[in-house]
Amino acid sequence: MKRGVDADEEESSGIADDKVLKRRKGDADADADGDGEEVVAWSSLGPDLLYEVLKHADGRTLGVASCVNKQWNKTAQDERLWETICTSHYAKSRSTTSGMIQQLRSVVLPLGGFRRLYSLHLLNLLKPSSSPTPSSSNISSSLSSFAASSSSSSAIPRRPSKVPIHWGKDELHLSLSLLSIRFYETMCPNDVKKL
């Protein structure tokens, strides 16, 4: 199937093709005739196929993707996608078992999920120390608003993507600690009030 073949070709090149993707969406308004067929193909990409494509996107791209439209937003918020992103280093390690991933899932999901883990905590650990805090926090808060709300049409802060996108278990562990603290802080104390 032609559409499927196109999608596979896009998958194999990761981020670069996501940029192409965005450019095409931009072109769609400007040039309805020129890229006619491809624009139609992308915007009518079914959620399953979209999911398959997004499986290969990195965190930042996923955040951006969730701003495209309501359907993309819904697909991009799928916990499984964010789980893959958070556990990418696990996948590379030979000693990781599916049991360990399941154990991780059983802790992270009740505490708020992988999307929150990434956008609220992991992302803050990835910014280079030289970048000024305000702009970084804008980016992390923009991404977290992407993650938290539907179809935000706020401007995506463009910055040179020199942020390291790889992290190890130390960053993950620290993020998990922060996630659990945040969960605890926002737990409703009313359930436990006596009398």
Binding site: V107, H173, L174
Partner: protein, 363 residues
């Protein structure tokens, strides 16, 4: 400082005159220095006029907790303390299936969610986790400890950790007998003390009694976090000067924290201000903020027959990463000191985490 000298020399009239001047000078000074001066001036005034400061009475404990929560959120000191202590506890609990933590200063229980989460993710699954929390009596007889325990129990259930909690109310740690803690033979015990032990120094013999109780609990690890300063010298003037330098550095670091809003800053400063007031204005059993340096604590622990346990590099890594979240990346420093970790601002260490084990315990 001239005022402090006058106070030391019991020259009341001079100190009174000077303290009024400080008030005016401090108000005109901008930034951290001005604020520190104001707090110290107030403390001096209390000392001079022998006003009993509104501190450490149980009426104030919920307000204290509130101030501490702001301090917790806005600067890394408490988080550093918790994270490094937790890492030491986690490593000591490796391979144990039934663990028991005794927390000498339960407060809101903020240290424990992260430990429970780490235990839940242990390869092979979490151990059974028991927590005993000790806290001061509440004025309205509400069971604050129990509420914290319930909250932690809810978290534990959420992440699948078998959890038990007991709270003990005590005016002083020295009032506790180890037998009432119900240490079970099969469990591995950790004792955790974050900014609590120094209070015992206000009563002679209290620390020795508590350290004896700790030994009797046969813990696998004792985690100790204390301020890195000597605010317990015999002379008032020395204490005054030491604490002036210490809290000035602390206030500087607060100013340097990016992204702190006005209210958080004021609350954090008020939290520290209460300590300042106690160090400067109180004496005898009321003066509980008797901070001592790591070297001094080492001597005390070793004479109570504890052996040091080296805090590993994982804790160092976590701590460094944690600091990167707090803006002032150029200011905060983690240092390793013979197996202990210290957090400081620029060149001045401010708090120190150390880990210990009773000497007679077989490895």
């Amino acid at each position: 400082m001239a005022c402090a000298e006058a106070v030391q020399a019991s020259n009341l009239r001079l100190s009174e005159a000077l303290v009024k001047q400080i008030g005016v000078l401090a108000a005109s000074q901008a930034g951290a220095m001005g604020k520190v001066a104001t707090y110290f001036a107030e403390a001096l005034a209390r000392r001079i006029y022998r006003l009993s400061p509104p501190l450490e009475s149980s009426l104030e404990s919920s307000f204290s907790d509130l101030l501490e929560m702001h301090f917790y959120e806005t600067c890394p000191y408490l988080k550093f303390a918790h994270f490094t202590a937790n890492q030491a506890i986690l490593e000591a609990f490796e391979g144990k299936c039934s663990v028991h933590v005794v927390d000498f200063g339960m407060k809101q229980g903020m240290q424990w969610p992260a430990l429970m989460q780490a235990l839940a993710l242990r390869p092979g699954g979490p151990p059974a986790f028991r927590l005993t929390g000790i806290g001061p009596p509440q004025p309205d007889n509400s069971d604050a400890l129990q509420q914290v325990g319930l909250k932690l129990a809810q978290l534990a259930e959420t992440i699948g950790v078998k959890f038990e909690f007991r709270g003990f109310v005590a005016n002083s740690l020295a009032d506790l007998e180890p037998s009432i803690l119900d240490i079970r033979p099969e469990e591995s015990v950790a004792v955790n003390s974050v900014f609590e032990l120094h209070r015992l120094l206000s009563r002679p013999g209290a620390l020795e009694k508590v350290l004896g109780s700790v030994t009797a609990m046969r813990p696998h690890i004792v985690t100790l976090v204390e301020q890195e300063a000597n605010h317990n010298g015999p002379g008032f003037l020395d204490r005054f000067n030491e604490s002036l330098h210490y809290y000035s550095t602390l206030f500087d670091s607060l100013e340097g924290s990016v992204g702190m809003n006005g209210q958080d800053l004021v609350m954090s400063e008020a939290y520290l201000g209460r300590q300042i007031c106690n160090v400067v204005a109180c004496e005898g059993v009321d003066r509980v903020e008797r901070h001592e340096t790591l070297s001094q604590w080492r001597v005390r622990m070793e004479s109570a027959r504890f052996r040091p346990v080296h805090i590993g590099s994982n804790a160092f890594k976590q701590a460094s990463m944690l600091l990167s979240l707090f803006g002032g990346v150029d200011g905060y420093r983690v240092e390793e000191n013979e197996g202990c970790l210290m957090l400081g601002w620029h060149t001045r260490p401010l708090i120190a985490t150390s880990a210990w084990r009773p000497g007679s315990e077989s490895v």
